[in-house]
Amino acid sequence: METSSPAAFVNAEILTMFVGRRVRTVVQVQRNEGGMVVGQSPDGHPLTIKSAMDIPVSHFMEVYGIAENNQTIRAEVCTDFGPSFGEI
């Protein structure tokens, strides 16, 4: 087993602590522009996800990748979590 590249759960606020490192989060897709997705982070700030899949707007998307800066994640893996997530 290998544990050399763990990913930290982040929101927009703590993404700043993990710039350059592998992170994971779930965003709600707000805009889809070519290879970039703008989504809302769990704490309500916009995040840009690069190289993302084509996920419908207002769906939730889990992103797993490297944080490029405070507001951008370069995605390695994206997963469509569907339209309802985190709601009771």
């Binding site: 087993m1 050399s4 997963t79």
Partner: protein, 296 residues
Amino acid sequence: MAGSKGSFPARPRLSPLISRQAPPPLGLPSLLPPPPPVATSAAAARQSAMMSQDFSPSQFTPSQNAADSTTPFKMRGASGTMPLTVKQIADAHQSGTGEKGAPFVVDGVETANIRLVGMVNGKTERNTDVSFTLDDGTGRLDFIRWVNDASDSSETVAIQPITDFNEVTLHFIQCVRMHIENTKSKVGSPTRTGSSMGVSGSNGFSESSTPTSLKSTPAPMTIGSNGSSTDLNTQVLNIFREPANIESEHGVHINEIAKRLKLPEAKIREAIAFHEDAGHIYSTIDEFHYKSAFAD
């Protein structure tokens, strides 16, 4: 496929068979190259797998190609499974004695049955077995699923897809909670009185609390406990909040609590009534069985 859209906290359809879960296979080529730096959208199959001690042939579909499929997998754990991350397993494995057949020790708690949630990739099908890698974000773990697995084999694995992605968040919350409970009970107070009250007090009934809020629960959750003679209500609640009882579908029989605390049933009834009114517990199959409402 036994996918679950079940609402929290109910977890129906637990598999009934119980057999020992051996530690993950050793000696496998476990060093994998890190994931490529480009978005692997085509290969990004969302398959989550949980290891449990029971195998059900209908729940595993070897025909599904990990590279192309977007159907996720989850696993049903039987009662007594412990939610873990790959990192916890790796740490436990390194610190354990490594004896064959010895159960895992995680956070000081011996565990035979474990539950993992992660993404399946690198699936390889052979004549006798299917092997794949599970990546849960904390590390990668190799699995081998033998095709002709007997039901009484000691290395049974059950894998199911995930359809409700809240299960992912829930699993990690459970991992954190189990870790906190197990490490807190080793440190400080002799009973776990304070820890359970602390969790129920700070999070209330909100199932929507995010992972961060659970992790940021203040460290001294053990509110002053002066030993077993203080609060009957708290003791009764502690019994309900034990991991084995939380996992059990029917909860705890009132007689068992009376036996454990060596108190008359009437007193236990009072405590149960108190907790039921407060919403901490609820009755399950009959009026003698109760279960903690803060269960999984």
